[in-house]
Amino acid sequence: MRPEHSADSPLSIHAMTVAYHRKPVLWDVDYDAKPNRLIAIVGPNGAGKSTMIKACLGLAPRASGQVEFWGESYRRARSRIGYVPQRESVDWDFPVSALDVVCMGRYRRIGWCRPVSRSHKEAGLECLERVGMRSLAGRQISQLSGGQQQRVFLARALAQEADLYFMDEPFAGVDAATERAIVDVLRELKSQGKTVIVVHHDLQTVPEYFDEVILLNMRVVASGSVNEVFTEENLHKTYGGRLTLLSEAAEAIARAAGGA
């Protein structure tokens, strides 16, 4: 049953199961991303959307399964992967400026123990420019609005100059200007032949912003091009039934493991 993993596919997930505290949150995920697409991961709260990308990136422990990038392991493909974490995952009262944060995206190019050189700062400024934030480069990050902070994170990912991007809820709680800026960046990335996988919560904008969609609720309900997969029926399957049987099974496993 294993799908053919090709070197073209920027991301191939095979039989991936993820568990927290022995409680499975993602079951047996199989997925192959087509290159050069904007892909949305959609599903109800607690469906494991963030967990899915965290497991791909090695941030959440995989109970089983494999993940490959262009047919290679994560370790080998790492330099081609960029990441935008959830905005709430960090303390924004950290003593750095917007530009300092963006330059973190250059660190792996700079290497160990060397300071951020002028050319890397220039590159960082350019990335801020692309999200419309150049004028705020010197601003301490706690003094930025939520949307501006999100754009700083996006600029940092741009500074990574990756070929495959994972973005965790970049549209959550942002203003209209930021939403436009993010969409522009997504389109620009696509035009450069890159692939972007975005955890998304707003169903209405899926067809407008994305080419492909993964409907997720503890397992992949459906995946493919938005035109074919983003249907009433599939959405009902994803959001409607709540999949009580699956979550009951997960509870039972957690109880059994805890009692053992």
Binding site: S89, F94, P95, V101, M104, R108, A176, A177
Partner: protein, 466 residues
Amino acid sequence: MEFLSFFIPTIAANGHSHGGGSLTDVSDEWPTWSEIFETMALRAGHNTNTVILGTVMLGIAAGVVGVFALLRKRSLMTDALSHATLPGIALAFLVAAALGAEGRSLPVLLVGATLSGALGVVCIQAIIRFTRLREDAAIGIVLSVFFGAGIVGLSYIQANAASGAAGLNKFIYGQTAAMGRGDAILMACIAALAVVAALVLLKEFAIVCFNDAFAKVDGWPVSLIDLAMMSLVVVVTVAGLQAVGLILVVAMLIIPSVAARFWTDRLWLLVVLAALIGGASGYFGSVVSALLPRKPAGAVIVLTAGAIFAISLVFAPQRGALASLVRRVRLRIRFAGEHLLEFAYERGGAELSEADITSVARLRAWPFWMRPIVVRSILRRGQAVRSANALLLTDEGLERGARISRNHKLWEQYLTSYADIAPSHVDWSVDQVEHVLSDELIAELEAQLAARGIVVPAPTGERAAR
């Protein structure tokens, strides 16, 4: 052999101050100005200078290392770490004695301290990882259990060891005055290590402290970098044990960086300031305790750092309590003035009588002191002039009132018609937000409301101009 000199019992170390009076006589001889000056200028003799320099170096090291403990949110963990060193000290003493070696040898004791401190940290991590307990509970458990075990060990040694073991007590409260030349050099080396590590690895420490998940995805060995930061903390803690004691050493790690944070938003400057504050605390603390021998230096060092923290907390220009109080009061007074203008505009007249002001004050629940200040502030802004009745709004004041009034309506409309998405902004209370809406935001509100067919009329020119 120099180490042995530290192990004279605590009473003996403090004994020379007991010569003049009874045990209940707690007053110190007040030093003369020349004594103070001599000590501060490092001219009070070799031994005093050694202690001062050693503590300054310890302060610098702890300040630098503490920045990263603070930013990594490990401040409390360092407290557990320092308490967890005690059983190691006791155990090292017993093991060395059982093997026939000199149990009170400082290197042996410090190795024991390091190992059990590290074990304490590992226990905390294990509790977090394998149970559902959170970090605070894990730290509480490890800190108290390890410290308790250490106390048990010490009392066992006290009761059973043939040779006096009272010297071990100094690790709890510290004994700065006993610092020798070798210790001062050791402190200097540790300070140099901390400074060099901060210089060379600033970028790596920063990315892990700010966003470890991103650092990991980016390919940085987060555990290794964490280990480096934690090792620095361990080294400084263990080095500080005999100087300030394990109860207070955590203060030298935490307070300088927290105090420095009030003064800067830049990481490298934070490190520099924390080093300076740590060094200064060490300097003043040891000078004071050299002048007043009864005062335990460790506590004085920590109190000095605490005083610097208190000053920073109150007086720092941006983040200080005073500055933010002034900002809040100013804003409140501006809002109150604008409420007056809004009131006048909505009633349709430029006159504001004393009674009008009273009614606004009552409606808005102004405290008694605010009224004259508010009136003065709108006079100063040129939004009103004094008149026979009370106040007469200028054109500028009326225009501002009109704008505030409209903003209020816009925002209310927005909140009610976009009840589904607005909750993310409802924490801006309607009464405040009308004063701070930017022009872009107003344009956006208008556009969004227009999309739903709602138009809030612009203020009429004639009315605004009376």
